[in-house]
Amino acid sequence: MTLSNAMLVFWKDWREISRNMQVLGPMLVVPLLFAVVLPAIIFLSPSLMNVPMSQFGNLGSIFESLPADLKALISTMTVQQSMIYVFGLYFFAPFFLIIPLMASSVLAADSFAGEKDRKTLEALLATPLTNRELMLGKILVSFIPSMLVTLLAFTLYCAVVDIASFGTFGGILLLPNALWLALIFGVTPTVALAAIGITVIVSSRVKGFREAQQLSAILVFPILGLIFAQIGGVVFFGPLMLIGLVIGFSALDVVVFWIGVKLFRREEILMRSV
């Protein structure tokens, strides 16, 4: 397998995608909603719209489930500070696992299923590109753009949180910090790779794009579970958990890719499109 051949598939697909606003639009809009609009409403609107902080008093019950050291830290803060600190640094973190999944879901579901729909698959399968090169190329074409979107979303998210924290914490910028950098550059790519790998496998084994997208939508549920688990205090995105996630998902990435290559049988893939 050569990376250059996998990149060949990547560039071919990327050229097609970049000319399709119907794909690019949702890819950008949904992540920006999570990374900019929603945080801006939560962090900036209370001060901009003069909402009294007493309105946020009932958040105390959510903070009850936080680890003891964090609870001790926020006990010294005002309501507004604690809200920005906890939501900005912790509760929004799992959303950044969903962003690459959302950004890549259309591309990954389209990888092989789209070629079947557009009847371009047979010529691609007839080339001497190996199964590994085809699989990797199709994974990369979902992975690279979705990570770029995630980085863009992260940059904007940092700006929103920092605008809020700058005024509230007396000139302190909360993001980026080491934990978030580990999340964005460690956990997010490994989670995205696993989800994309599974979606590409599904895409190669179904008849068309719609079927692939419907099946791959299921992948968001475990991440949603993580969000609710964090809100409920069952899990907490601390350093140990991040290291565990990186190791666990890296191993899963390798397994998913291995399974994908093993299941990649040109005849089956082509015949399923008939």
Partner: protein, 314 residues
């Protein structure tokens, strides 16, 4: 002639159905070989096996010297394929499509790719549209581009699956003429699948008629005509027909039969070309006024339909 495609009892089973059944054939270097048969005859399945997209259930085959079950990557490298659908990326331009496939087939030299792309686009009359998206092309243009894609890496073996399917007669003729010119210019060994007799007749050196996955007959188009529909016949048009003329012609040596109807004589002979001058001479001597003489060649269509009907009746 060295065979570049050789199959031995090649078979493919889907469930209980044998799509290709013990197909044995040889195609020599530089030859254009037609697989002629109705829809569902097993032509596409044969080509897919020979280009290593699907695996045979039984039998073996060598393509450009490589075994289709063992040297899959080498086989793929050695063949170009025009699939049933043009299989082009419609959001890309012709240049981008050809560049991708050139690189996928292992050509890394940029200037070589550029030169080959230009050569092919000029040959197929698409150079002026090189920067347009393929989505805006007509069906005929897409088919030309798909053929260009199939030969971008100059493969020794070329599979053309229904190259004129879905095209209007003018576009179909253009594609046929281009395939003929291309094969004579670039010396590819071509296997052409078609259900169009015209394609087989005008493009192929040899034709195999297949039905229900099995070979029924193989030979040059002329051989098939004779083999399946008999020898050519001579039609003589007279101002006025008469039994006398028919009897006189029947008495000549080598004449097998004479039919008379509507002032015409339909004559079969051991060697009709040799007999024609003598037939005309005796008819004139007998007072016949000859309006015209036509050599009626049996059509490949007659041969094909006869075979397919016989096959269907089995």
């Amino acid at each position: 002639m060295l065979p570049l495609i050789r199959t031995e009892q090649l078979s493919k089973q889907f469930g209980m159905f044998w799509a290709v059944n013990r197909l044995t054939l040889e195609v020599g270097e530089g030859e254009t070989f037609g697989l002629l048969g109705p829809n569902g005859a097993g032509k596409t399945t044969t080509v897919r096996m020979l280009s290593c997209i699907i695996s045979p259930s039984e039998g073996s085959a060598l393509v450009a010297g490589h075994d289709i079950t063992r040297d899959r990557v080498e086989v793929r490298r050695s063949v170009g394929i025009l699939t049933e659908n043009p299989s082009l990326y419609e959001k890309l331009t012709p240049v981008e499509n050809l560049k991708f496939f050139a690189q996928a087939y292992g050509i890394t030299n940029e200037s070589k790719i550029r030169a080959r792309t230009r050569e092919l686009l000029e040959f197929f009359g698409l150079w002026d549209r090189r920067d347009d998206k393929v989505a805006f092309f007509s069906k005929g243009m897409k088919q030309k581009l798909a053929i260009a894609r199939a030969i971008i890496h100059d493969p020794p073996v070329l599979f053309l699956d229904e190259p004129t399917a879905g095209l209007d007669p003018e576009a179909a003729k253009l594609i046929r003429d281009m395939v003929v010119e291309l094969t004579s210019r670039e010396r590819h060994t071509v296997m052409l699948c078609t259900h169009r007799l015209e394609d087989a007749e005008k493009v192929c050196n040899r034709v195999m008629i297949i039905n229900r996955g099995a070979s029924m007959v193989v030979g040059s188009p002329d051989e098939l005509r004779v083999k399946m529909s008999g020898n050519p016949k001579l039609e003589v048009k007279l101002v006025e027909g008469s039994d006398r003329f028919a009897d006189r012609v029947s008495s000549l040596a080598g004449i097998r039969g004479v039919e008379q109807f509507n002032g015409k004589l339909l004559i079969t002979a051991d060697d009709i070309s040799k007999a024609t001058p003598l037939i005309v001479k005796v008819l004139v001597e007998e007072g016949g006024q000859v309006l015209g003489v036509n050599l009626l060649l049996p059509s490949l269509e007659d041969a094909y339909l006869k075979l397919i009907r016989e096959g269907g009746a089995k």
